[in-house]
């Protein structure tokens, strides 16, 4: 049997029978290794996402093999592909349904900025309607890039203060997008 790697414990004081660390670190560690992604795949990048979650690149290695197709039960919204103006309200609706804490990964040039489709019908970047945590460039990005995007999200999740979502700055950010 191959060696099983387990997550390293956060910094803390260890002694006989006890281990002291801050609650925040434990929660962050646990969250970052059990992200439930909601794949919002619209076009070409969605096919690369399929490659990412298939056996060769294996997204499951990062604790994200459980795709959550219901926005209510997911932590990470992965937007992959062109979002047309017609799709914009739908995307926003999906984001609004997600429970806190929630993160957004914007995969591909189209989702990040509209990409090569600088046209009347395409939304020029999803950050016009929802806040984005990590951008992955590429048209489409390689699976390695998508994986790196997920790892960046994991970093964010690991280091996020517990109270961040209750702070007025965060409320203000959401209000800037018209989200209650």
């Amino acid at each position: 049997m191959s060696e099983v790697k387990i997550v390293e414990a956060p910094d803390g004081i260890a002694g006989e029978g006890y281990f002291l660390t801050s609650f925040e670190k434990v929660v962050g560690m646990a969250r970052s290794h059990s992200l439930w992604p909601l794949p919002f795949a619209t076009s070409c990048c969605g096919i690369e996402f399929m490659a990412t979650m298939a056996s060769h690149y294996d997204l499951a290695r990062f604790g994200s093999e459980r795709m959550s197709f219901s926005p209510r039960q997911s932590d990470l919204l992965m937007v992959m592909g062109t979002i047309a103006k017609k799709m914009g309200p739908v995307l926003k609706h999906v984001y609004e349904q997600m429970a806190e804490p929630r993160w957004v990964l914007s995969v591909g040039a189209c989702a990040c900025s509209g990409g090569i489709f600088d046209t009347y019908s395409v939304l020029q970047g999803i950050d016009r309607i929802i806040p984005v945590d990590v951008y992955v460039p590429g048209c489409p990005p390689r699976p390695e890039q998508i994986l790196e995007g997920i790892m960046k999200i994991q970093d964010l999740v690991r280091n996020e203060p517990l109270r961040r979502r209750n702070e007025p700055q965060y409320k203000q950010l959401l209000a800037g997008y018209g989200i209650e």
């Binding site: 076009s43 070409c44 096919i47 047309a84 017609k86 799709m87 739908v90 046209t119 019908s121």
Partner: protein
Amino acid sequence: MEDFKEETLRDEMVFPADNGQTSITASKTRELIQSEQDLYTLNLGPTHPATHGIFQNVLQMDGEKIISSVPTVGYIHRAFEKLAEHRPFYQITPITDRLNYCSSPINNFGWHMTVEKLLGVEMPKRVDYLRVIVMELARISDHLICNSVLAVDTGALSGFLYVFQMREKIYEIYEEICGARLTTNMGRIGGFERDLSAKAVQKIKDFLIEFPKVWKEFESLLTRNRIFMDRIVGVGAISAEMALDYGFTGPNLRAAGVDYDVRVASPYSSYNDFDFDIPVGENGDTYDRFLVRSAEIWNSLKIINQAFDNLPEGPYHADVPEFYLPPKEEVYNNMEALIYHFKIVMAEIEVPKGEVYHSVEGGNGELGFYLVSDGGRTPYRLHFRRPCFIYYQAYPEMIKGQYLSDAIITMSSMNVIAGELDG
């Protein structure tokens, strides 16, 4: 075909349900609607987990049975046609990539062939054969994704994981040829940008040895699998007349029993040099579509083998310096190449005026390019005949009277690709 009456056919058409125990005819459906039973509306999509890509269907349901459906499309409308009017000919290849992104090279070469037809350029045999090899690889990758996703929708995930490994191999071949995986932007107007490298040749050879085993195993898992057959035989059937009426082409039309294939009907890129069959189905149901795609994969392999064995020597691009972008090292070291490079990029070349229609057999059917040129730098008008867009309109008719879960697999067996659908 002239005697074909739309109304009678629809009335007599039997939509199988309950695995043959009872069936519901179209006239019966109409009755049901008139009697105003307890119908309810179900909004399926555009982000429903069971649909791949973004399709919205507003269904009228009687219990689990679909009485009628109204599809909405356009959720990733990207204005390809308007975009193409603003781009020089050689910059349109990236747009075609994103039409049917499961088999981009076919679209790329289709576009190149359209322009070559307009310019009146003859391709060397080697280019034709190389194109055929890559296009058939693309067809394999397209069909295997469709068939394996169909298996996923019926509950068999492992086949998908297994087969996707082979798609990775095809991606690797693309990477050796052009450097990209999915949206390949492969080739140029007038040929290829470089010759097949030794590594690419080796990779294709390996693929030709490795793939048949995998596909055979995948087929043996599913083709005669009792559960799989019970699930999909007779689901989403369409008759040949109706399929033609709705403009079906490609594997979906062939599954209904019409042996129309652009590769044979109007051969392009030396397809008439190769010996291959056109598999046809009988009932036009999901099972037939599955079988036709499987058989086409074997025929594609046959074509690749033939093209690979008889690959002619010679140049990898046509001798048309006024249209073919010269290689970069030539541009830096050769005066003539620099001039041509400048002329092509700055669009000071003469393009004939006129209208061209060219079509290729894409992964989903006849992919047509209608190009109007006014002699300028960009096309005056470029219309894509997108097979998905045309045949998806038959979907409400096909799922009428079926169970909801059968509607899902009908869609996945039709291989509706959102990029191609919305244009």
